[in-house]
Symmetry: C2
DNA sequence: GCATTATTTTCAATGCTCGAAAAAACAAGT
DNA sequence: ACTTGTTTTTTCGAGCATTGAAAATAATGC
């Protein structure tokens, strides 16, 4: 659901009767979870009783959303209506968490935000953090992360203790899947594999609108699926991962014919990646070759995934989406060389430039949903039927 | 649920109250779907009112279950209680369906069974067929199959027309997953990857008790996941599939140093496979090597699957289960060489010798469930709550 | 002011589920 | 034979979400 809707529209949307909708909404109104507003009707129809829209009460709750990336952090304050209230963006250096406890870093940013919007302090209900890496089985800690000095520290638990608020950790790949689900209505109930290609390679998958993936994490380790046994050295320390051929550092390495066993660069500037893509587009042999190797790794990875899971859509997001056309021939070739690819054909693979939007949207929707299901869970279940979908 | 249960036991099992159970059961009794029988109490407790067990009425329906394999066909007549009434087994030659329409073959076997149990003719409600290969998206046809001359023929539709009964096609890998779920109570709600290794390589997966896999099929194409680009020739015509290294014909090919681009043998006798395993166990170098190559292929396949899906159990079934120990070192090595393997460790991989049992059990349970959900679906939904789990 | 139109609410009925109490069916002790 | 204890099963009244149909509401168009 997005934005304000009339009760009638909600009834059609959820399949419930008008009678039920009235009952549910009057409950939610009493609880202050939703509020009414007069509808302005932009459409021609002006006859009949005007609809009164209901929407989530923006002030009912707030959430702080952290997006931690290899070279960037972003903190957003959002309200229960899903509206972005305030946002701060910080460049990160690879060594930042060596000298600064992650919990402290997060706490200070949060204070800065709350200082600018004091009203949100009382209604702040949740803190959610997007991270890259492998989460603990219980989702409370981080086992491994490409963000240096971040894994191991139990910053989520510490922050939760300090603020006396629930703090949740989310794998970025999962949010990618959650976000694309919400951003494009056509994908909301589809089976989608969303592949991030950039500083890392990650994938989130949905099956008929449900987030899937390794266990509870709800994401895959696609970037660290083996591509070539004993192959190129990956940032994770293993060899032959897809990421070690398709991430920005791998393309850099291959474009300059650095041995593939050389240590990966800790971070690759965006303009350098862009320059390599341009060189490849203008025919530079070694740059082209690097992108071909990347396409081949992604293609075989997708082909292997297709043996297990059959998405209706494949989305490539992130900086690598810009270079999809450079990689596409190799991707297609790898997929068509497999049984399922040859029989069912290659799935539609489309690029979607901006990756920050789906990650933020995913984090937002997941967190609002958590507020509904966990924090407001005292209500009987039926009253939540209208909130979903 | 298995077999007869008292109402009290069912109430505990389903979480419903005794009152609801009485209401539901009296409905089902009236409809003739379940029947009562006096309980013999083998346990010590002899006090109190004796329980009257309820069970599915065996005579309420019958189903014919076909299991089609590369070299064998099996037809079973089962009743609504899940009891095997009659069974016929037929050896198949690779050319049988070249001269005989599959529909005719199935029809004649079914007539033979019904002639011996005429009472089942009236109550026969469903025909279900287990096949190997790739189904059409709608599940009504077969796009490709290792069983020669079977794909393409719309025998399921023809048989359905002829008998005026629903005929369903099931991918064998899916039934494998369904069957293991039912055979071991510990696996019923677990996340399991069941891998068949034998004349082909196939895999069915469950996630928390739900059958998963490529779309509706509910099975994977694990055997045709690429292992080595441009590698050994597979029966499917592609190159480098896992099956082309780990199926019986591949082991035969590698053990005798036949070039891996040589055409796969159409069928490998069981005793020849057994002999190769014995030779490997007694130290024969080329036989050992062949099983090592197979283990490596399966290991990398599992490692790649683990990047996407995270089962709590991995079961190896079929003839290849007998040779698991020959392959295990290579499997473990491949898994531990990946990021998830190194962090989470290798999942428990266990062998389960007999594969016919899970396939039959899966076909049986799926078909009985279809009878409940489709054929008996006129009943209000709540009456079916007790039948599940 | 009155007909028309669309949204929202009211109201009585339905259907599923439950807890508590009662009934049923048997074993064991007296 | 009768009572007591135990366990299963049924009955009964109540609760609750949901529904369809009808009524109420709030606008526009004439």
């Amino acid at each position: 659901m997005q934005g304000a809707q009339s009760r009638t529209a909600l009834a059609n949307l959820t399949g419930l009767s008008h009678a039920s909708m009235t009952a549910i909404m009057s409950d939610l109104l009493n609880q202050g979870i939703v509020s009414e507003l007069v509808a302005d009707r932009p459409d021609g129809r002006a006859r009949g009783r005007p609809a009164t829209f209901v929407n989530f009460s923006r002030g009912a709750a707030h959430a702080a959303l952290f997006e931690l990336d290899v070279n960037r952090a972003r903190v957003s304050l959002v309200d229960y209506g899903g509206v972005l209230v305030d946002r701060v963006e910080i460049q990160l250096t690879p060594t930042i968490f060596a000298g600064l406890a992650p919990c402290k870093f997060l706490s200070e940013r949060l204070d800065a935000l709350l200082a600018r919007t004091p009203a949100a302090t009382k209604t702040l209900r949740r803190i959610a953090i997007s991270v890259q890496g492998i989460l603990e089985r219980d989702g409370r800690g981080l086992r491994w992360s490409p963000i240096q000095h971040l894994a191991g520290a139990s910053f989520a638990a510490e922050l939760s203790e300090e603020r006396n608020l629930p703090v949740t950790l989310h794998k970025r790949g999962r949010l990618l899947a959650e976000g694309t689900r919400w951003l494009d209505p056509a994908l909301h109930e589809a089976s989608v594999a969303t592949v991030f290609v950039g500083s890392t390679v990650a994938m989130g998958v949905t099956f008929r609108g449900q987030i899937m993936g390794r266990g509870d994490e709800g994401a895959t380790e696609f970037g660290h699926m083996n591509h070539v046994p004993n192959g190129a050295l990956c940032r994770c320390g293993m060899r032959g991962c897809i990421e070690a051929y398709a991430a920005d550092y791998a393309i850099l390495r291959n474009a300059y014919s650095v041995p593939e066993t050389a240590s990966p660069a800790p971070a690759v500037p965006a303009q350098q990646y862009e320059m390599l893509a341009q060189r490849a587009e203008t025919g530079d042999r070694s740059a082209t070759h690097a992108f071909h190797l990347a396409g081949r790794a992604i293609g075989f990875g997708l082909s292997r995934m297709l043996a297990i899971y059959d998405p209706s859509h494949v989305l490539i997001v992130g900086p690598g989406a810009r270079a999809l056309e450079l990689m596409r021939p190799e991707i297609d070739q790898a997929i068509l060389g497999s049984l399922v690819g040859s029989i069912n054909g290659s799935p539609q693979i489309v690029a979607h430039r901006d990756e920050t939007e789906p990650i933020f949207k995913g984090l937002l929707m997941k967190t609002l949903n958590d507020i509904d299901l966990v924090d407001f869970a005292a209500l009987p279940s039926s009253e939540r039927a209208g909130l979903e979908s």
